[in-house]
């Protein structure tokens, strides 16, 4: 005796799997509608079979319409997602900013970019890397910056100029007092 009609090659044709209220199989009615078969006499008069045929037609048109539609992401998607990825900073990527209303935070990469940016604007110098470490439980920071200098620039004065620039930018642009500045001149470049 067959216990499971599915394992035994499916149910007999005349045993409806999902009988409608009219006794017909919903799947059969659906398949007939999908195949484009003209409704027979029963189907034309039966509200249940008509509903199934309408369902089939509805899904069919929906699927085809959506498949035919070109989904165009709005132009700023890349920008927005990248901005969000950049904003997802972990706690150790943040510097603390003093405030009487509760401590605020500043992204460490953004702060380092500012210091590199101001050093880049100095004549004869280019910033390479910049690391900012805030003193634990305080607001002042130690900055380590590497620069390259144009051939002929007085290297002895580079340290003093960069130091002054970093301290001033830290205070004026970031609001982070700079306690110590380590400067390494790592390379020299020519004008050509």
């Amino acid at each position: 005796m067959a216990l499971d009609p599915f394992l035994d090659g499916g149910p007999a044709d005349d045993a409806p799997l999902e009988p409608l209220a009219c006794g017909r199989d919903a799947a059969t009615a659906w398949d007939r509608a999908e195949a484009g078969t003209v409704p027979d006499e029963h189907e034309r008069g039966c509200p249940h079979c008509t509903a199934v045929r309408a369902d089939a037609a509805g899904l069919n048109s929906l699927v085809h319409r959506m498949a035919a539609e070109d989904i165009e992401p709005p132009p700023s998607v890349m920008e927005r997602v990248m901005g969000a990825v950049m904003s997802e900073l972990r706690p150790h990527d943040l510097l603390l900013l003093e405030s009487p209303h509760g401590t605020n935070r500043l992204g460490r990469p953004a702060a380092a970019a500012v210091l590199r940016g101001v050093v880049d604007r100095m004549d004869g110098l280019r910033a390479r890397s910049c690391r900012i470490e805030q003193v634990p439980d305080r607001f002042d920071a130690d900055v380590a910056i590497t620069v390259t200098a144009r051939f002929g620039v007085d290297l002895a004065s580079v340290t003093a100029r960069v130091r002054q620039m970093v301290i001033a930018a830290g205070e004026q642009a970031l609001g982070v007092p700079v306690r110590r500045v380590d400067i390494s001149v790592v390379d020299i470049w020519g004008d050509g």
């Binding site: 901005g83 904003s87 900013l97 405030s99 004026q172």
Partner: protein, 116 residues
């Protein structure tokens, strides 16, 4: 006498805060976090109610009569980050308090400083 209880939701506070924060000089943009950005993208693809004010970059939690608001923003070189944060804290806290009557704590995170 009729008693009326007013309960202000997180989204309402976030929208007020976002509106006010964007008006502070030096705030270039409020930066959505990843979840907000993806929801925004999904919303613009699927079509969304455009009358809703944005809350990108702002998260608000209301508990009892206190609201905690965190704001993530980008600024431009030339605005002192520490002072900008304090201004945003003051302005947003005052605005939210005025509109909702809640006590407000605002925390600001600057994630980007535009250099051009």
């Amino acid at each position: 006498m009729t008693k009326v209880r007013l309960n202000v939701g997180d989204s309402a506070v976030a929208r007020i805060a976002a509106q006010r924060a964007a008006l502070v000089p030096g705030v270039v943009a409020l930066r959505a976090d990843l979840a907000q950005a993806l929801l925004g993208v999904a919303g613009s693809v699927l079509g969304q109610d455009r009358s809703r004010l944005p809350t990108d970059g702002v998260n608000a939690v209301v508990r009892d009569q206190e609201a905690e608001v965190s704001i993530t923003l980008a600024t431009r070189l030339g605005h002192n980050c520490r002072e900008l944060c304090q201004t945003v804290q003051r302005e947003v806290a005052a605005e939210v308090a005025a509109q909702t009557g809640l006590a407000v704590t605002v925390r600001v995170t600057i994630v980007d400083v535009l250099l051009d």
